[in-house]
């Protein structure tokens, strides 16, 4: 049942895009917005519904950096590593956050699926370098300390809502 319900959503998305293979990228974007990642079985399902090979769908899904085949954390932290941020030492932010979130050996998502740490080529917020974005919220003119604080605030907020799920 669970699986069937999963495909129902995908089918809706495919229908909305006229089942057209030319709309593959918008379809994948919508599916990822729904599930936060692109599960393998869904990619195969999309290929069959659009009448194209699974290889083509995988090819597209792996080509573009915004698509991910692995589940991401609830908070996606993207440190900008555009030129302006880079010369203002954005990689120091990354190092500190990586240590803080205990991400070792190339892992980018915390084991509790709360955070994913990524770098992004340019957010276009160069005037605020160094910058990072947490989900859709841009934070600018950061220092390693300030970046750490932002993470702490989220952890605190999450811990509160967990112990007090109704926000009373």
């Amino acid at each position: 049942m669970e699986a069937l319900r999963k495909f129902e959503k995908v089918w809706e998305i495919v229908e909305r895009n006229d089942g057209s293979a030319a709309r593959l990228i918008p379809i994948l974007q919508a599916v990822q917005a729904e599930y936060r990642y692109l599960p393998e079985e869904i990619l195969a399902y999309i290929a069959t519904s659009l009448g194209i090979s699974p290889a083509r769908v995988f090819g597209v899904a792996t080509f573009y950096s915004l698509f991910t085949l692995k589940p991401k954390g609830k908070y996606v932290v993207r440190v900008c590593d555009g030129t302006a941020c880079h010369v203002k030492k954005s990689m120091d932010l990354c190092d500190v956050l990586r240590k803080k979130l205990k991400l070792a050996n190339g892992a980018d998502t915390t084991t509790d699926l709360l955070f994913t740490l990524e770098t992004v080529n340019c957010l276009g917020a160069c005037g605020l370098a160094p910058a990072m974005v947490v989900n859709d919220e841009v934070h600018g003119q950061l220092t390693p300390d300030r970046a750490s604080e932002i993470i702490d605030d989220i952890i605190k907020k999450e811990a509160q809502s967990e112990s007090d799920p109704y926000g009373a």
Partner: protein, 632 residues
């Protein structure tokens, strides 16, 4: 005069009358930068506070008169000082406004007509407090043409664009001009593509116009991927209708009936504003069938990118729009012959399209009055990095680099933004495809052709200023890693070449390279430049070649002496605590984000090299300058 022109005029007069009837207008910048600094809270606080003090306040001008109009604008380009607030009609300009400043502004400026001095911008050097934008060097030295309305008008209100004369140029193109006439006019103006190529726009349109095909497309390339450039984001966020109008005119010029705006998904606000603008234009009959009451049809869609730099290349962009991997294909055939779905397609950059309505409205001669003979008009530059004033600016082509760095941007700065008058080292221009300009290029006129002459390119206009403490090898490595990760993998030289160059540069910054490494790097760079298929690969070696040429001594210091002159390269860096200077105050141990510093109170502390991430927080926090080996 036809009906639509009359309707446009009616909207225009109505809006302007309402605006004139208001005693004040408060404009809060709501571009990406100011939003990050909390400008939406400032906006809400203005609405709340004005209403609370019993004033007649409105956030959208409709059919009635109101006393005070509060609106949001797109990016004003001066992001580092945000949130920015402008109060009209006086033009009072406040910087770094927080929500708790709003009450003071309402009481002092709006009610009593006086200034809140602490929020005024103070010019570095002269210490002059500036009351309005036009007193600030950063704005006064600019020539805002395409950006003129950005940061003033409300980008989400189509009526305000119309009130500023918007959509008059498309009426002119649809009713008073032939497609050939439109192409000729743009050709006469000498408009060249602002995306980096510099190809004459009028020529491109004319080629597409001459194709015998019933179906043609116009695409706006808003896949602004160059790190360090954000002009297209500002235009799409701050004045989306100017782009749409440019596309309507392009469609008329080549007789296309369908168009796409391809926007980077990393720009959510630009996507939102473009979508809203298209909806509003449809609602007023400016897009769609029989647009503006003419016999023409133009349908416009938005396509969001999915994060691939190479899609800024036009053939890759088309592949991506067709639902494929964004890989470039060899040219010819050029898209003007065979583009989207094999149909003739014109692809123009955002800034180019936004300039088109202005040129149609004011004529080619007026456009040619600024800029140089072969690069007429103005160019937007994103000036960032180590300068006092970072932001988005617009200057006539031919302006010198010196004027931009020292005149507009207020000169070179330290990493903390403090002025450092003699600190200039280089300017990286044109992103990953460009090169470095040094002191000797400061008086070079910035236009398409002069820059090509010195092995750089204007690209999309990203200028990253670097001070003396920037390691040029690290900069070259940064761009090479970028090119490596963005190479689409289609051709071997680009795919493997960028990877190998990246590894060679890794060796250099990690102290594993020899002098021979530099020769191999140079050979490889030349080969990749010659043998790659598309612009990405052909230009990827530019940052390496240009830094090798201009800063060879710095490369040599890394390979011969395993020494990074600026202390940037971490593998060559060792942080140590000087036992004679350390007082054991424990500040550094507390500040260290990874707990690498240990020691008892009053005793000399020690850094554990294995744990240290070399972030230098300790260096900054030490009051006794006891920690050595940090960056200069």
């Amino acid at each position: 005069m036809n009906l639509t022109r009359m309707e446009l005029n009616r909207i225009r007069e109505n809006f302007n009358a309402r605006q004139n009837a208001a005693s004040h207008r408060v404009i809060v910048c709501a571009g990406t930068g100011c939003r990050a600094n909390g400008s939406l809270k400032v906006y809400e606080e203005f609405v709340r506070c004005l209403a609370h003090s019993g004033l007649d306040v409105v956030v959208e001008l409709k059919d009635e008169d109101h006393d005070i109009f509060v609106s949001k604008s797109g990016c004003q380009g001066f992001c580092q000082l945000g949130p920015l607030v402008t109060i009209l009609p006086e033009g009072t300009f406040y910087t770094k406004v927080k929500a708790n400043d709003v009450e003071d502004i309402v009481e002092t400026t709006i009610k009593r007509g006086e200034l809140v001095h602490r929020l005024l911008y103070v010019e570095h050097g002269t210490n002059k407090a500036c009351k309005a934008k036009d007193e600030i060097l950063f704005y006064r030295k600019q020539h805002r043409f395409v950006l003129n309305n950005c940061g003033i008008i409300d980008p989400e209100d189509i009526r305000e664009y119309i009130a500023c004369g918007g959509y008059q140029a498309s009426v002119k193109a649809c009713f008073d001009m032939t497609p050939e006439g439109v192409c000729r006019l743009i050709e006469a103006a000498g408009l060249r593509g602002r995306g980096g190529g510099g190809f004459p726009t009028g020529n491109k349109w004319n080629l597409a116009r001459q194709q015998a095909s019933k179906k043609k497309y116009v695409i706006c390339n808003g896949d602004e991927g160059d790190p360090g450039a954000f002009m297209d984001r500002c235009i799409m966020e701050g004045n989306p209708h100017s782009v749409i109008e440019g596309m309507i005119i392009a469609a008329r010029a080549i007789d296309a009936d369908e168009g796409y705006v391809y926007v980077r998904a990393e720009y959510p606000l630009a996507v939102k504003h473009i979508r809203k603008a298209i909806e509003d234009a449809y609602a007023l009959g400016i897009l769609g069938k029989r647009l503006l009451g003419s016999q023409y049809c133009f349908d416009l869609h938005v396509m969001e990118g999915a994060g691939a730099f190479v899609c800024g290349e036009e053939t890759a962009l088309i592949a991506s729009m067709e639902g494929k991997r964004g890989m470039p294909s060899p040219k010819p055939p050029f898209p003007v012959r065979s583009g989207l779905w094999g149909k003739p397609t014109v692809i123009n950059n955002v800034e180019t399209l936004a300039a088109v309505p202005l040129i149609i409205a004011s004529g080619p001669d007026s456009f040619r009055q600024t800029g140089t003979e072969f690069s007429p008009g103005t160019k937007t530059f994103a000036i960032t990095g180590h300068v006092v004033n970072t932001g988005l600016i617009e200057m006539p082509f031919g302006t010198t680099l010196r004027e931009i760095v020292y005149g507009v941007a207020g000169g070179v700065a330290t990493a903390d933004g403090e002025p450092a008058s003699d600190g200039f080292k280089a300017v990286q221009i044109g992103g990953p495809s460009g090169g470095c300009l040094t002191k000797e290029h400061l008086d070079l006129p910035m236009d398409f052709d002069s820059l090509k002459g010195v092995g750089a390119m204007i690209g999309s206009g990203g200028l990253v200023v670097m001070n003396n403490n920037t390691c040029m090898v690290d900069v070259a490595r940064f761009f090479m890693q970028f090119a490596e990760s963005e190479s689409c993998g289609k051709c071997v030289l680009c795919r493997e070449g960028t990877k190998q160059m990246s590894l060679l540069l890794d060796d250099i910054v990690e102290g594993k390279a020899t002098e021979e490494t530099l020769d191999i790097l140079e050979d490889l760079a030349t080969a990749v430049q010659k043998g790659s298929l598309c612009g990405l690969g052909k230009t990827a070696p530019n940052p390496v070649l240009s830094t090798l040429r201009q800063f060879r001594d710095e490369y040599e210091a890394h390979v011969k002496f395993k020494y990074c002159p600026t202390g940037t390269c971490k593998a060559l860096k060792k942080l140590r605590i000087d036992g004679d200077l350390c007082r054991g105050c424990m500040v550094c141990a507390k500040k260290c984000p990874v707990g690498a510093i240990t020691g008892e109170k009053g005793k000399v502390h020690r850094i554990d090299e294995k744990l240290c991430i070399k972030c230098e927080v300790c260096v900054e926090s030490c009051k006794f300058q006891a920690i050595t080996g940090g960056r200069k």
